[in-house]
């Protein structure tokens, strides 16, 4: 069973309290009807009006009240014990339904269903400046690929939902997230985090799930590249290196033309 969110726990606790109060009230009403308590109450009140100074009136009233309190306490205890299990089950069901139908979670469920059905798609692990650009380029391509993003930042997830891009909530190096993103059926996976270790672990996990998947990784240092390739990565890009090369080549070309 999925772990319930904090709001769901609040719903569970509220449900238990409300249900307990409602059941207790219904027990009181049921008791009053089935045990002639209304009739007793009528006679007691009637006696007060008809013979208010009689000592027998007080005795009768005390006797009736003691009898009903004792009997009621027993009945209430039995009914509550009997209903505790039912109460918990009902509360969990209510909480699960509320959890599912809340908008944000509904989006997450839809994303999971989308990802589960996908085949030959592209998984992008991490949403940042780099992947934002990449997704923009891919969505603008002639042959638009199916994309699933794995991300843990709640704000980013909401943003992606608004852009109608399926997102799996979780860590990029987590086997659970990779499975939810259907990495076993995906064509490519791209790790774009600025954390080499996380990208490396994710790449190893992805390879375990799918021998055929093409793995592309962003690296931050040159020495990481060899480790990435050893881990089964098909391509490792170093953004800073590429920028350096393009600046160097631009200047060299420009100065060469001028000479």
């Amino acid at each position: 069973m999925e772990r319930l969110s904090e709001s769901s726990w609040n719903v569970i606790i509220s449900s238990i309290i409300i249900s307990t109060v409602l059941i207790a009230l219904s027990i009181v009403v049921l008791y009053l009807i089935t045990n002639n308590a209304y009739l007793d109450a009528y006679y007691i009140i009637d006696t007060f009006f008809n013979a208010p100074n009689s000592a027998a009136t007080w005795d009768l009233a005390q006797l009736a009240l003691t009898y009903h309190f004792q009997k009621f306490a027993t009945v209430l205890s039995i009914v509550i014990i009997d209903n505790i299990g039912k109460l918990l089950v009902v509360s969990f069901i209510i909480a699960a339904v509320v959890d599912m139908v809340s908008f944000a979670n509904l989006e997450k469920y839809i994303s999971r269903v989308h990802a589960k059905r996908m085949k030959g798609h592209i998984i992008i692990c991490g949403y940042n400046e780099l992947s934002k650009r990449l997704i923009g380029e891919l969505l603008g391509a002639k042959k638009k690929p199916k994309i699933v993003v794995i991300e843990s930042n709640e704000e980013v997830i909401v943003d992606l939902h608004h852009r109608h891009i399926p997102v799996i909530e979780g860590g990029c190096s987590s086997m659970r997230s990779l499975k939810l993103a259907s990495a076993d059926k995906a064509k490519m996976i791209i790790f774009v985090k600025q954390n080499d270790a996380e990208n490396l672990i994710g790449a190893v996990e992805a390879r375990k799930l799918n021998k055929e998947i093409k793995i592309l990784v962003r690296g931050t240092k040159e020495e990481v590249m060899t480790k990435m390739y050893r881990a089964g990565v098909d391509m490792c890009v170093l953004p800073e290196y590429l920028a350096g090369i393009s600046i160097g080549e631009y200047i060299a070309k420009h100065l060469g033309v001028q000479r």
Partner: protein, 138 residues
């Protein structure tokens, strides 16, 4: 020391190091401006002229021979500093070729407006590279 027809490289991080390597491969003279003393010493040991200082200041740029330089590559990891360096370089040498790095998309146009002829964004470069590889496999 007088420098002439050289290229000034501001910042010797990952981007700056790559720029220096490329320019040296093309046998272009470079002068590096770097704040980190250790890096400056390392460059000098390699025989590469280096000045310890802040590339956003006129003093450091003049020391690196901005008036006689053909081009300047600004590769610091702070976009605001890069913008300052572009403006200062342009004010000291109107005809100098300026190529710079932008980390955020927002600064790409700002740097170009300030006088940079070429703006390279690490994320854009990587995104293009990845995109080409992805498209090949589709």
């Amino acid at each position: 020391m007088e420098f002439k027809d050289h290229v000034i490289v501001c910042g010797y991080g990952i981007v700056g190091e790559r720029i220096v390597d490329i320019l040296l491969e093309h046998k272009i003279n470079v002068v590096v401006i770097e704040m980190d003393h250790k890096k400056v010493e390392l460059l000098k040991e390699r025989g590469i002229p280096a000045i310890e200082g802040d590339a956003t200041t006129s003093k450091a740029l003049k020391e690196a021979g901005i008036t006689g330089a053909k081009a300047i590559a600004i590769a610091m990891d702070d976009d605001a500093k890069n913008l300052f360096a572009v403006i200062t370089a342009k004010s000291l040498n109107e005809n100098i070729l300026i190529a710079t790095r932008a980390n955020e998309e927002l600064f790409e146009t700002k740097l170009a407006d300030a006088g940079a002829k070429f703006v390279a964004t690490p994320n854009k470069s990587a995104s293009d590279e990845l995109f080409n590889e992805i498209v090949k496999g589709l």
